[in-house]
C-alpha cells in the first residue's frame, strides 16, 4: 500500500532529534521555561548564556513556551515540570494554593536575598500566605502615553498631559473625530484599547477590588464611579462605532498598532511600549509618558499598578538548589540590569547603578521609576479566582462599553458572580490550608 513509505518516513523523521548543545555535556542540565519571544527572548538568552559561561556545573536550557499559565500547571500536575519557570505575578496565589510551587524562604535566605534588596511593591507581589514563592525579573508599571502630534493638531499643549481624569475626558472630546455617517475616524482615549488594565482601573478611582480576605469590594463608591465612567463612553462616542473602529486595529506589535497610526491618541501601557515604538512606529512619531490621571480634583502622589515577570520553582522540580543558583544569578544587580536594559525596562531592585540610568535608552525611564516607588502604586490584582475574575470583568466591561448594559448592571453582575467564585476558591483553600501550611513548614525546615 502507498501508505507504507509514508510510515517509514515518519519513523525516520522521528528518530532525528534536535541537536544537543555540546557545552551541556558533563553538566547538570536545568530545564527553564520562559514565555519571551522576539527581542525579549534575545534578552533572556543573553543572560542565560552569561550564566552558562560563568560556571561549569550547571547548564540552563531555555525553552520558549506559549500560554505559560496553563502549560506550567498542566506540566506540574502531570509530574514532569521544568526545574525553573518564568510566570506572571498575577498567577502566584492560584499556583500557590494549588500546591504548584516550592516555597523559597529558605533558599532565598541562604542566597542572601532579602526584602531590603527590592522596591517594596515588587517584593510584596512575590509573597503569599506568609511565604516567599518567587523572585521578580522584569517589572513594569502602567502609565499614560500620548501622541504629541495629535495633541498639537487638536490645539493642546503637547508637553502637558492631562492631570486629572476629568481633564483627560476634556482632551478626549477635543481629539475625537467623528465621520458624517457616525463612524469614528479617531478617538482620544477608549478604555478597551489596549484593555489590559480592566481589573485594576478602579485604583485610579481610589478603590480596591478585594479586601485581601474574603470579600470583594465591588459595591464600594470608587467602583461605582468606575463603572459610571465606563458608561459615559458609549453615550458619547457610540458603542458599535467604537468597536467597529477597534475591529480595524492592527497587530499590537506592528506598524498598524492603533497608537502608532494615530487612531487612538492616549493609551495606558507599561514600560515596554517604548520598545514597540522604536521598532514599529513611524520615524517621526512623537510621544510622551506620564502618570495616568486619577479621578480626583487635586492630584497628589501618582497612581499606578505594578506587575512583574517572576521566576518560580515548580513543585516537583528535580533540582531546586541548582534552580535557585540560577535565580540568584539573575537577581544579581549586574545580570538584572543587563536583562532589564536589553528589555529597556527598569529593574525591581532598590539600588540602581548610575551607569544604568545614564545609558538607558528609554526616554521616560525616570517617570516609570517614580511611579514604581510611589506610595499609591499597588501590585496588580492577584485574587485566587484570577482567571474567572479576568474573564468576567472583561466581558462585563465590554458589554458596558458596547452600551448593552448600564454601568450598574455590569457592576452588580460582576459582583454577584465573582463573589461566589471567590468564595468557592476560598472554601477550597480552607479545606486544604492546614495540610498545605504544614507541608510548607516541613519543606522549609528540612535539611537540604
Amino acid at each position: 500500500m502507498r501508505l507504507l513509505p509514508i510510515f517509514f518516513c515518519g519513523l525516520g523523521l522521528a528518530a532525528c532529534s534536535a541537536p544537543e548543545d555540546p557545552r551541556a555535556r558533563g553538566r547538570l542540565v536545568l530545564e527553564y521555561w520562559e514565555k519571551w519571544t522576539g527581542y525579549e527572548g534575545d534578552a533572556i538568552a543573553a543572560v542565560v548564556e552569561d550564566f552558562n559561561n560563568s560556571q561549569e556545573r550547571i547548564f540552563v536550557r531555555r525553552l520558549t513556551v506559549s500560554k505559560m499559565d496553563q502549560k506550567l500547571i498542566l506540566a506540574t500536575s502531570g509530574r514532569n515540570p521544568p526545574d525553573v519557570a518564568g510566570l506572571w505575578n498575577t498567577y502566584l496565589p492560584a499556583y500557590v494554593e494549588n500546591n504548584a510551587l516550592l516555597p523559597l524562604d529558605r533558599l532565598a535566605a541562604e542566597a542572601s536575598i532579602g526584602e531590603e534588596d527590592y522596591i517594596p511593591v515588587f517584593w510584596e507581589m512575590c509573597r503569599h500566605r506568609g511565604h516567599l514563592w518567587a523572585l521578580p525579573t522584569t517589572p513594569s508599571v502602567a502609565a499614560l502615553h500620548w501622541n504629541k502630534k495629535i495633541f498639537r493638531e487638536a490645539g493642546l499643549d503637547p508637553d502637558q498631559p492631562p492631570r486629572t481624569l476629568a481633564e483627560l475626558e476634556r482632551f478626549n472630546e477635543k481629539i475625537t473625530r467623528k465621520n458624517p455617517d457616525g463612524t469614528l475616524d479617531r478617538i482620544g482615549h477608549m478604555p478597551q484599547e489596549p484593555g489590559w488594565w480592566m481589573r485594576d482601573f478602579n485604583r485610579w478611582f481610589g478603590g480596591k477590588v478585594w479586601d485581601g480576605e474574603s470579600r470583594l469590594l465591588l459595591d464600594s463608591e470608587p467602583n461605582r464611579r468606575f463603572f459610571a465612567w465606563l458608561e459615559t463612553y458609549p453615550r458619547r462616542f457610540g458603542g458599535p462605532a467604537m468597536y467597529r473602529l477597534r475591529g480595524g486595529f492592527g497587530n499590537f506589535a506592528s506598524p498598524e498598532n492603533p497608537f502608532f497610526t494615530g487612531k487612538v491618541a492616549m493609551v495606558m501601557h507599561g514600560v515596554w511600549l517604548n520598545n514597540f515604538i522604536r521598532n514599529y512606529a513611524p520615524p517621526d512619531f512623537e510621544y510622551g509618558a506620564a502618570a495616568f490621571p486619577a479621578d480626583e480634583e487635586n492630584p497628589s502622589d501618582p497612581v499606578s499598578v505594578a506587575e512583574a515577570d517572576i521566576l518560580v520553582i515548580p513543585a516537583g522540580s528535580r533540582h531546586p538548589r541548582e534552580a535557585m543558583e540560577f535565580i540568584r544569578y539573575v537577581q544579581s544587580q549586574a545580570a538584572m540590569e543587563k536583562l532589564c536594559l536589553l528589555m529597556k525596562k527598569f529593574t525591581p531592585l532598590r539600588e540602581v547603578s548610575p551607569g544604568f540610568l545614564e545609558n538607558h535608552p528609554h526616554p521616560y525611564l525616570g517617570v516609570f521609576l517614580e511611579l514604581a516607588r510611589s506610595p499609591r502604586t499597588a501590585p496588580i490584582l492577584n485574587i485566587p479566582s484570577f482567571n474567572e475574575y479576568s474573564n468576567d470583568i472583561e466581558t462585563n466591561v465590554n458589554e458596558v462599553l458596547r452600551g448593552a448594559l448600564t454601568g450598574e448592571e455590569g457592576r452588580t453582575r460582576l459582583s454577584e458572580r465573582q463573589q461566589k467564585a471567590l468564595q468557592d476558591k476560598l472554601a477550597r483553600w480552607q479545606r486544604v490550608a492546614g495540610i498545605r501550611e504544614a507541608a510548607w513548614r516541613r519543606e522549609l525546615d528540612e535539611a537540604p
Binding site: 501508505l3 525553552l63 520558549t64 498542566l74 502531570g78 509530574r79 499590537f252 506592528s254 498598524e256
Partner: protein
Amino acid sequence: MNSKISRTLVWIALLTVGTLFLLPFGWMVSTSLKPLAETMSVPPRWLPSSPQWHNYPDAMKAMGPFWIYARNTLLLATLNVVGTVLSSALVAYGFSRIDWRGRDRVFFVLLMTMMIPFPVVMVPLYALFRELGWIGTLAPLWVPAFCASAFHVFLLRQFFLTIPRELSEAARIDGCSEWRIFWQIILPLTRPALLTVALFQFMATWNDFLGPLIFLTRQADFTLSLGLQALQSQQGGTAWHHLMAASTLVVLPVLALFFLTQKSFLRGISTTGLK
C-alpha cells in the same frame, strides 16, 4: 419544463454556489501573498499588488519549529492509521465473522459508546494519563488508536458482513485457525474498506485540535494544529498574511491526499451514510 432551460438554470446555480464556495480559498491564498499593510486596507483589495512569496517562509519561522510540528503531526497520523486499521479490523472481524454468545448485545454497547461526547471523558482521561505519566508526551494521542474506534469498527463490520459465510466455513473445515482466516482470507478481500478507514483516520488525526490542546505541554511535541493556534494567539492583533500563509500550508497536505485518493474517499463516505 424544457430540459435545456432547466439544465442552464442548474448550471447557473452550480456556478454561483461553486464560486461562493471557492471564494474563501481564494481569499486565503490572496491574503497570504499580500504585504501586511495591504491586508489592512479598507476597502479591501482582491489581489495583492505583487505576490510576497516570502510570506510563506516568514510564517513558518513565526510559527516556531514548523518542521518539528509537521514531523509530530505526521508521526501521530501514521501511528493512528496503523493502530486504527489493525485494531478496528480485528474487532470488526470478531463482531461479524464469528458467532458467539452475547455478540450482538456487546455490539450494541459499542454503538452506544459513539454517543458519549468527548467532554464527558475529557477530565477523567486527563487524570488517568496524568497518573500514567503520559501528560507532556505524545502517548495519549496515539495509544487509544490501538483500541479500535467504534465508528471504524462499524464501517468495517458492514463490509465483513457482505463476504459470504461459506468462505469462512470452508476454511474452518480445512482446519484453518480463525487468525489465519482473518489474516489471509478476509483481510485481503476488504482492502478498499481498509484504505477508506486509513484515509479517514489520517484526516481525523491531521485535523485533531482538542486532543493536542489538552494533552501536549511541551512545544517540541506540538502538532501543526497547535502550532498554528499558538501563532494566532500571540499577543496583540493578528498578522493576517502570516496566518493565512500558515493556514494554507496546513491545508495543502490534506488536499493533496484527497486528490490522490479521490475515488476511495468519496466511495467511503457514501457507504458510511447509506449503511
